[in-house]
Amino acid sequence: MSPQPTPPRAEGDPAIRPRHPSDPPQTPPEKAGEPLLRIRGLGVQFGGFHALTDVDFDAREGEVHFLIGPNGAGKTTLVDIITGLTKPTTGSVSFDGQQLVGHKEHRIVHFGVGRTFQAATVFEALTVGENLDLAASYRLGLRRLLRQPRGHADAVVEALEVTGLADEVDKSAGALAHGQKQWLEIGMLLAQGPRLLLLDEPVAGMSPDERTRTGELIRYLARGRTVLVVEHDMDFMRRFADRVTVLHEGRILRADATVAEVQADPTVQEVYIGRARDDRNSAGRSGAAAAGAPAASDDEEAA
């Protein structure tokens, strides 16, 4: 495959120029091959600091798309914008033709977008089963929420099965091991039944075996869904990515490339992979160490 340039920018394209509050809702007609997620001209500032600048990004149905980049590149910020946690200064995010910018977090979940967090957050006072059950029940009305649940929904059983947490169903989530919490969070995402899943560093702090299991889990999730994975671990990326986008200092360095292309790209190597190699060679560990402090310290938890 040849390197794909970022899509050409047309002056009059409403999806490209910054959205104005008076703009009509953008619901373009469904086109074959249209990306499920389409981000155009995205920018965000935190008090003068440009965390993201002019970001264009596409993800298609059924692909595992890795978003990589050094610390502070803006990866989490991008996920935050897609899921409504952060409001962008400029640009648009359309998901299956639906404009996401300006919607509340829980509305965006109802559109079919789910996420996990860089630091796995599960409800520790509840059991594993209860965590999954809540995730699967968000479409229920208040009347049905008020009933005492009997038995688990199919979505919960599926999540227990693929995450391997069936034995822990009655265990309180706070008592799970670190890696299991991350799987539980992915399981909750699966139980929600989203079409786009955003995973922020799903293998941070995991052992090599756990990483492999998580990778397989991600491949499973990608059947009929789109999975966007934020990760530092280059080895993990090589094994499980379909497409890769590289972010650096808030800008797209390389958009929608294959793993081979990213690895062959000298600019990418310079800002990212090169450093990852050096670190890996010296530390004798996977590329998780490349990005520095947070990911590296995670390794201690796994030990």
Partner: protein, 375 residues
């Protein structure tokens, strides 16, 4: 694996110690319905009725604060709304047809004032006793939770509203009876001076408390109850599960307000009077202390806390009136600092330790890390 999954699929989800809880419920019901009326003097039974009225407020606080993490420091407002609604109705019922209540005729009023009018109706009053506080809490909650006001700010806001309500009542003396409050002698045909009728009233209070407890327990055990705990522990995470935490919190807050209103309505006949002194800042804080002492994570604990603290208050303030205020403050500090699970925590601690003993000496303490939250 698949056999395990099949059992998982079918199994009832939720607390499993159903039977002991039911037995405990039956024992307490027997004590309250049969033993207490035959053992206690009329005076003591009247006091117990008052404690049980307070226990109704406590259930609501355990729900909003213990489960939902909303420190409701102004329940006196809702207690007062229910109480005054009931007192207005009872005063109108006692006054001659079409006449204003007695305290108004003293100041020369000749007509029933406009806002009193609808409370002539029994059905309207009974509805308002619960709906008025719930409506107030819903509006307040939508306003406050939507702008993500939480923690101490929310607590102070509720407190300020209770204080404002007291100022309003004192200021509107011609409608509210001012600091004197409203006095009642009868309750839907019951003569509140008659011991037999008072016993009936006591049984009504017990029945309402049982109902409120069962409603609270259903809320706690439902999916909604878990959602409430999830919002308490990680509100922002809940948004990404597809729920609006504002609505989750409003429901619990409104339910607690409705329970406080119901309690206020029963307080009126049980005590014979409602006045601003029963619903200001201090009473509102006391309500939270009962629940802290009883155990805010447990509805049954909250009930026990309300009864025991108020019993202690009666006993101590008979002997050393001034000591009670300090004693109560000290009790609160001790509970918050050393026993955050309150009286209910003692039972849970015993249960956990018994389990540890049963597992044998070689079981490490670290094995018992999970802390179950009792209903």
């Amino acid at each position: 694996m698949s056999a395990l999954l099949a059992t998982v699929r079918r199994r009832v989800v939720g607390p499993r110690e159903e039977l002991p809880a039911r037995i405990a419920f039956a024992i307490v019901a027997f004590l309250l319905i049969v033993v207490a009326p035959s053992m206690l003097s009329d005076f003591r039974l009247g006091l117990l009725a008052k404690y049980l009225v307070f226990a109704i407020v406590a259930v609501g606080i355990a729900l909003a604060w213990g489960r939902g993490g909303m420190l409701v420091l102004g329940q006196g407002l809702f207690f007062g709304l229910g109480g005054y609604a009931m007192a207005m109705h009872l005063q109108l019922a006692e006054a001659p047809d079409g006449q204003p209540p007695a305290f108004m005729t003293l100041t020369g009023a000749e007509h029933v004032p406009g806002i009193w009018g609808p409370f002539e109706s029994t059905a309207f009053t009974l509805a308002m006793v619960v709906l008025l506080p719930m409506l107030a809490a819903t509006l307040l909650g939508l306003l406050v939770f939507r702008s993500r006001v939480r923690g101490p700010y929310f607590a102070i806001l509720t407190q300020a509203l209770a204080a404002a309500f007291v100022i309003f009542l004192v200021g509107q003396q011609q409608f509210s009876g001012g600091t004197n409050g409203l006095t009642v002698m009868t309750f839907f045909g019951l003569d509140l001076a008659d011991p037999d009728d008072k016993r009936t009233l006591y049984l009504i209070v017990v029945a309402v408390l049982a109902l409120v407890f069962l409603i609270g327990r259903q809320l706690v055990r439902s999916r909604y109850g878990r959602l409430l705990v999830a919002v308490r522990d990680a509100e922002d995470r809940v948004r990404f599960l597809g729920y609006d935490p504002t609505l989750v919190k409003v429901v619990a807050f409104a339910a607690s307000a409705g329970m406080a209103g119901l309690a206020g309505a029963l307080f009126v006949p049980v005590v014979g009077i409602i006045s601003p002194a029963s619903l200001g800042i201090v009473p509102s804080i006391e309500m939270v202390i009962w629940v802290a002492v009883g155990g805010r994570l447990s509805l049954a604990g909250a009930i026990a806390g309300a009864v025991l603290v108020n019993y202690a208050k009666t006993e101590l303030s008979e002997q050393l009136p001034s000591a009670w205020l300090y004693g109560q403050g000290l009790l609160f500090v001790v509970v918050v600092a050393f026993a955050p699970r309150g009286i209910a925590g003692i039972g849970e601690w015993l249960r956990e330790n018994r389990g540890r003993l049963r597992r044998g000496r070689d079981a490490t303490p670290a094995a018992a890390t999970t802390v179950e939250e009792g209903a």
